[in-house]
């Protein structure tokens, strides 16, 4: 008997996939696979010219399809792909955000005048082979398919409707990022060290995530989020398994966010990785990890609120305070922005603690606003260069405002947006999250948040003072203007201004997305 005969006899139903509703994901993964084929079959000289438009088109198509889904008369609100993916308002908002932020990051990654990536990752730093590959003008075009796989994983992560899909998405987004971190063109030792640290700690944390998933499976008899929610509300099963499972699962998720005490990888990796990859991680990975966190805590663990809220309170307070305080002592600009990103993860957690629709929509808006600002800031860092590459040490930035007032002014504006000054997107985002947290009964958390913002404002202003009120060094870094980087800065700046001055359309969009709630 042939295979079809056996299948027909046992009557195994074919899985039903809603291709139309999950198309943005499929497009991104499809382009990633195509990119691998391009690496295999296209000559070296042509790869860059094929890969960049391919990745660009893939992301534009994914974004366009997401918009088309959201603009339907009845936007999708369903559990797709046999229960693996939840396509709903928050998912679509996050997909759109991730696709746009990845597009802006792609502008940085694809910069050719000042390549950020090593000519050949396998050549030893400082060896003859490295010099030869540099002289021959090789470029490591594997970066683009790797980036697309990571973006696909990032889009899948917040849409996952069961813990297995979530684990696979977590790995699909992490594995390419581990590699990308190690591909810097300059300061390769730092870059490789960042990759090793990120990899070992990331694998460690995903083991925690998985053991948490196993314990929740033991509790509920299923890894689907809605089944876990039902098992919690029915109060069947062993509560020890439930609580231990939630704790371990949270460790994995909080690690990806970089929340204290699981934050130690973030400064090292952000500093060591090539700056465009840092921009991608600081924006898209944060959006994605926070989306997944929201889905787990709103869908599966909502009825367990009273148990997890105190823990998340403590983590949020620690994250805000430690991020803001340690950032003060930093002398490296990238490292300082990494600690600032940790503090922002803490501000975002206050939106999670609110557990209301307002908290959800505020968090979604904050994620989009912060993503643009952070990419813009890292893009500016790639422009300030001296003989050794990027001049990331803060002392080298002295007097930049006198030498290149436009670039320094732009960076100052991004820093003010991080600090949350009114008329920037940072203010609107913080206001949305904090007001939701107050309504949700987390006023002490908001007080800590505002105090931490004040501490954070101190070190942002310190950078501005260094740039504008000290004299430039004679051999200081120069501003290198490269076309696509400028485009990325301009987009980041435009989004920061627009979301600060006219936030209402995007706030409405986030409100609508959150109003639909997560599908169960």
């Amino acid at each position: 008997m042939n295979v079809t005969g056996v299948l027909a006899q046992n009557d195994i139903p074919a899985p039903h996939i809603e291709y139309g509703d999950v198309a943005p994901l499929l497009v991104v993964f499809g382009v990633a696979v195509l990119g691998v084929l391009v690496e295999a079959f296209v000559g070296r000289g042509w790869r860059y010219r094929v890969q960049v438009p391919l990745a660009f088109l893939g992301l534009v198509a994914a974004f366009g399809w997401t918009i088309a889904l959201a603009a339907r008369e009845r936007p999708p609100h369903l559990v797709a792909a046999e229960g693996a993916l939840g396509v709903d308002g928050p998912t679509l908002f996050l997909w759109g955000t991730i696709a746009v932020l990845a597009l802006v990051s792609l502008l940085l990654i694809a910069e050719r005048d000042q390549s950020h990536f090593t000519a050949q990752a396998s050549a030893l730093p400082g060896s003859e082979a490295e010099q030869e590959t540099m002289a021959a003008g090789f470029v490591q075009t594997e970066v683009y398919p790797l980036m697309m796989f990571a973006v696909g994983g990032m889009m899948m992560f917040p849409a996952s409707n069961d813990l297995l899909t979530m684990f696979v998405a977590l790995e699909v987004l992490s594995l390419p990022l581990y590699l990308l971190c190690g591909l810097a063109r300059r300061r390769r030792l730092l870059s490789q060290e960042a990759a090793v640290k990120y990899f070992l700690l990331g694998a460690f944390s995903s083991a925690f995530f998985l053991y948490g998933a196993a314990l929740l499976y033991g509790f509920a008899g299923s890894v689907r989020l809605s089944d876990i929610a039902t098992a919690i509300s029915r109060n069947t099963g062993d509560e020890t398994l439930l609580l231990a499972g939630v704790a371990l699962l949270s460790v994995g998720l909080l690690f990806k966010l970089g929340a204290v005490p699981f934050h130690m990888w973030k400064p090292d990796v952000y500093q060591g990785a090539p700056t465009p990859i840092t921009a991608l991680m600081a924006s898209c990975t944060l959006v994605s990890a926070f989306g997944a966190m929201l889905r787990v805590f709103y869908v599966a663990l909502e009825n367990l609120r009273w148990d997890w809220r105190p823990a998340i309170w403590a983590v949020a307070i620690l994250t805000m305070v430690v991020g803001a305080v340690i950032a003060i002592t930093q002398t490296d600009v990238k490292r300082m922005l990494a600690y600032s990103s940790i503090a922002h993860a803490g501000f975002l957690l206050t939106g999670l603690v609110a557990t209301t629709t307002a908290g959800l929509s505020g968090t979604l808006f904050y994620l989009a606003a912060y993503g643009f600002t952070t990419i813009g800031a890292f893009a500016v860092i790639t422009m300030v260069r001296d003989a050794g590459g990027e001049a990331a040490h803060l002392s080298r930035w002295a007097g930049l405002g006198k030498r290149s007032p436009l670039v320094a002014g732009t960076f100052a504006f991004f820093l003010l947006a991080f600090a949350g000054i009114p008329l920037t997107s940072g203010f609107t985002g913080k206001f949305a999250v904090f007001s939701a947290a107050v309504e949700g009964g987390a006023t002490p958390l908001v007080v800590v948040g505002v105090l931490a913002s004040a501490v954070a404002a101190f070190f942002y202003v310190r950078v501005i003072v260094v740039m504008f009120f000290s004299d430039p060094e004679p051999d200081g870094p120069a501003v290198v203007v490269a076309p696509t980087t400028v485009a990325a800065v301009a987009l980041g700046l435009a989004a920061t201004v627009v979301l600060g001055v006219l936030p209402q359309p995007v706030l409405d969009l986030a409100g609508q997305a959150a109003g639909q709630l997560f599908v169960r």
């Binding site: 030893l124 696979v168 590699l179 190690g182 090793v196 460690f204 083991a207 053991y211 499976y217 008899g221």
Partner: protein
Amino acid sequence: MSPTHYLVLSAILFTIGGIGVLVRRNAIVVFMCVELMLNATNLAFVSFARMHGNLDGQIIAFFVMVVAAAEVVVGLAILMTIFRTRRSSSVDDANLLKY
């Protein structure tokens, strides 16, 4: 034999792996300890599948194995690169990035 014993074994293996990651210095051994943690998870999944009488846990174990294999590929590539550069696979030697 009751499946609970296997759960206890899986918890012990997970703990051994976790302690190994924290105390061992060789990056390869640290990574093997992570793999041990993943295998402990597989054992837990399979035991729970037996206790609940459904196949989900067994299927998940296969997925975890595939993901672990992919992780080995990426991880060994990264560890190999840094070993060739530094001539050392001790995690204590990679200390340029700190504070």
